[in-house]
């Protein structure tokens, strides 16, 4: 807003004031409005201060770097931080290119009309879909549809009861062969009674064909990241669009004038100009992704795990190291807080740990949000 109308309004206000004083109820309403604003801001400060106050005493390096011990009552929350960070990392790697390119099409290529209207409505709707619905979608689409089918075609795991029956019929001869072999061996060793039964059972379970363990058709870090990626897509699209629209038209025209093609204009002029805005959107998306629990609740979050979700050491030629296994379950800060606070028999006992975990989560998300706010302020001034 420019300054001129404000000055004008101010002068008009002065003129009115000199003639008639504001009635009492107007003053009252104005102070109510001020009061409401004050109360909400104080409440915000109170939330943050309380969590810092109760969480800080328990928070130390050990808490951040150690795994939980002694039924979560001691040690730290490192696996939860690890899970949170990597889920969000996978998420942004998936969502950022898709969102940015989608926004590029909407701003630079689409010529209005039906496509734009549908996409705009879809982005608005996607932003309004309840977060738990994303969780259901992740379960129904990624795990029960894509994951199950991948498992079926890659590892021959039946998808439903009918296929399970077919599978059993197919392996029946092999099972029978294993049983016959077991009986023969038991006869050879002249086992009797309970020993014989136990031997046959062991032999059959060891030699009959076993169904492959599920790989894709279960909750996993990758599916959680994909679910979150769809959740944050609108955030990235909206902020990228804003950034692209703020690039002056004249710059595009100058580039066209030099004979650049459309993609050359977009990739060498528009996108570099819009990078701060896109970065802001990415940071906001990461903060949002790190703060959501409902979408990943149904797609692979675990309360406690024996170790970090890593693979066997992978050989990189001159050194060996484990890498993150995206098709493993994972721990998450949000889920840690939720479970510790609600699912324990006496949650009061672990309150200090809950507050400290909350503080860690709050620090991560607030730092990113503040960073995004400062970045946006910086480039909007420029």
């Amino acid at each position: 807003m420019s300054a001129a109308p404000h000055q004008f309004l101010g002068r008009a206000r002065e003129a009115v004031k000199s003639r008639s004083r504001a009635p009492l109820w107007a003053l009252l309403f104005e102070s109510i409005v001020r009061g409401i604003t004050g109360v909400v801001l104080v409440a915000l400060l109170y939330i943050v201060m309380t969590i810092v106050w109760h969480g800080a005493p328990r928070l130390d390096w050990e808490f951040i770097s150690q795994a939980p011990r002694n039924a979560m009552m001691e040690g730290g929350v490192f696996p939860a931080i690890f899970g949170t960070v990597f889920v969000v990392l996978f998420m942004i790697v998936m969502a950022l290119p898709l969102g940015v390119f989608g926004a590029v099409y909407m701003v630079e290529y689409a010529k209005g009309g039906t496509f734009s209207r549908i996409t705009r409505a879809a982005v608005n709707n996607l932003a309004g879909v309840p977060s738990i619905v994303f969780g259901l979608f992740g379960l129904g689409f990624f795990i029960l549809f894509i994951g199950k089918n991948l498992d079926h075609y890659a590892f021959d795991i039946p998808r439903n009861e009918a296929e399970a029956k077919v599978w059993e019929q197919r392996v029946a001869p092999q099972v029978k062969a294993a049983r016959d072999e077991a009986v023969r061996l038991a006869d050879e060793k002249s086992l009797h009674g309970g020993d014989r039964g136990a031997f046959i059972r062991d032999y059959v379970s060891g030699h009959a064909p076993v169904m492959h363990k599920k790989v894709f058709g279960q909750g996993a870090m990758f599916w959680a990241a994909a679910t979150l990626a769809i959740l944050v897509l609108p955030v990235i699209i909206v902020s990228t669009e804003e950034a692209l629209r703020s690039v002056p038209r004249s710059m595009r025209e100058a580039a066209y004038g030099l004979g650049a093609t459309k993609w050359q204009v977009v990739s060498t002029v528009v996108l570099p100009q819009a990078r701060t805005g896109i970065l802001t959107g990415a940071i906001l998306a990461v903060a949002r992704g790190a703060g959501e629990l409902a979408p990943i609740l149904l797609v692979g979050v675990a309360f406690s795990m024996p170790g970090l979700p890593l693979t066997e050491p992978v050989n990189f030629g001159f050194f060996k190291m484990p890498v993150v296994n995206p098709f493993s379950e994972f721990m998450h800060l949000n889920y840690h807080i939720y479970t510790m606070a609600t699912q324990q028999t006496n949650p009061e006992l672990s309150r200090p740990i809950q507050f400290a975990t909350t503080l860690v989560l709050l620090m991560i998300t607030l730092a990113m949000n503040l960073g995004a706010i400062l970045l946006r302020r910086h480039y909007s001034r420029k």
């Binding site: 001020r34 989608g102 590029v104 993609w263 703060g291 606070a341």
Partner: protein, 354 residues
């Protein structure tokens, strides 16, 4: 006239055709193909959000419809229960008849899936929190756009953005661990015993849940109301002040009515958010799927039901399909709310243009 004459002349046409041909020649087939491929790729990315919305609807309904095939639709509204009578002399209970009631009891011998208690919880919490956050959100919006100076605005706006950035689990935990019990103690005794509220017995209830949800909705409504009010042309305010209205009269009689559809859209959007909020209501609304007219009793919402029961439900079982159906219902409701917002905002744009 002269320009058109030039443009229509044969010489101009020949020259421009030659120019066009020259411009086209250096662009090789490879370049044109590359541009085309990139455009198609970008189009695919642009369609992704529409595809995602379509897939969400498809998969929720695909899994949910199965439940409708297993259980008749009427069972999702009201359930049939046996009315039993206990005979103390014989020490036996006999079934004397059946009655219709609204019970959500997914894990039992005869599972009952009436969604009415869940909808009661969802709408109760959404209405209470919409009421609280309308008061606060509209107040803050008015303050930001009409009263605050530029400097205070620059401080308060980022603070609201921070409030948006607080994870919902944190707010839920805060309500659960810090707020719930003191409120109960306050309401049912202690210093405020003169205000004794006899029906406030449980520390985790619908009201506490709604209060927590309000924290999430207030900044949303506040910033949307602020935007709507700031979109009102300053001429209107100036005119109002010029005829002698006070600032408050201007706000109340001129600015707010001019922005009423924007404010309305903000409220509906806030209501939709409240309906879809999951973690806060799961942590501090008590999680009991019963219908109580008393707002200080525990409730369970549709969202909390999905989130807390899906883990235990067997995939492919009736319970899981019913939960998918509840999710489909939820997403349909928020979709309709969004459509209403879209219509209202379009109307509002036209009005601002006038």
């Amino acid at each position: 006239m002269a320009a058109r004459g030039l443009r229509e002349s044969a010489e101009f046409r020949a020259t421009s055709a030659a120019l066009r041909a020259r411009l086209r020649r250096p662009v090789s087939l490879f370049f044109r193909l590359k541009e085309r491929v990139i455009e198609w790729f970008l189009l695919a990315c642009g369609m992704l959000s529409a595809i995602a919305v379509a897939l969400i609807f498809f998969f929720l309904f695909k899994e949910g419809i199965v439940a409708l095939r297993m259980v008749p639709l009427s069972q999702f509204i009201s359930t049939l229960s046996d009315v039993t009578k206990y005979d103390p002399v014989e020490d036996v209970t006999t079934v004397v008849g059946q009655q219709r009631d609204f019970i959500w009891q997914p894990v039992s011998e005869t599972p009952k899936f009436s969604v009415v208690p869940l909808m009661w919880g969802s709408f109760g919490i959404a209405l209470i929190s919409a009421f609280i956050s309308t008061l606060c959100g509209v107040g803050i919006g008015i303050y930001l756009s009409e009263i605050a100076t530029r400097r205070t605005r620059d401080i308060i706006k980022p603070m609201l953005e921070v409030l948006v950035g607080i994870p919902t689990v944190v707010i839920g935990f805060f309500m659960l661990a810090v707020i719930a019990e003191p409120i109960r103690a306050l309401a049912s005794g202690g210093v405020f015993s003169w205000l004794h509220i006899p029906f406030y017995n449980r520390s985790l209830n619908m009201f506490v849940g709604a209060l927590g949800v309000s924290f999430v909705i207030i900044p949303v409504i506040a910033s949307l109301v602020d935007d709507a009010l700031r979109a009102v042309p300053n001429d209107l305010r100036a005119a109002s002040l010029a005829v002698g209205a006070t600032r408050w009269q201007t706000t109340w009689r001129v600015t707010l009515p001019a922005a009423v559809s924007g404010v309305f859209a903000a409220l509906i959007l806030g209501f939709g958010r409240a309906l879809g909020e999951t973690m806060i209501v799961m942590m501090c609304a008590g999680n009991a799927p019963v219908i109580h007219l008393n707002p200080f009793e525990p409730v369970r919402t549709m969202t909390a039901s999905i989130a807390s029961e899906m883990g235990a439900a067997q995939y492919g079982g009736l319970h899981a399909h019913v939960l998918f159906l509840v999710g489909a219902l939820l997403v349909t409701m928020t979709f309709l709310l969004n459509v209403v917002v879209e219509i209202v905002i379009n109307k509002y744009r036209k009005r601002i243009r006038l």
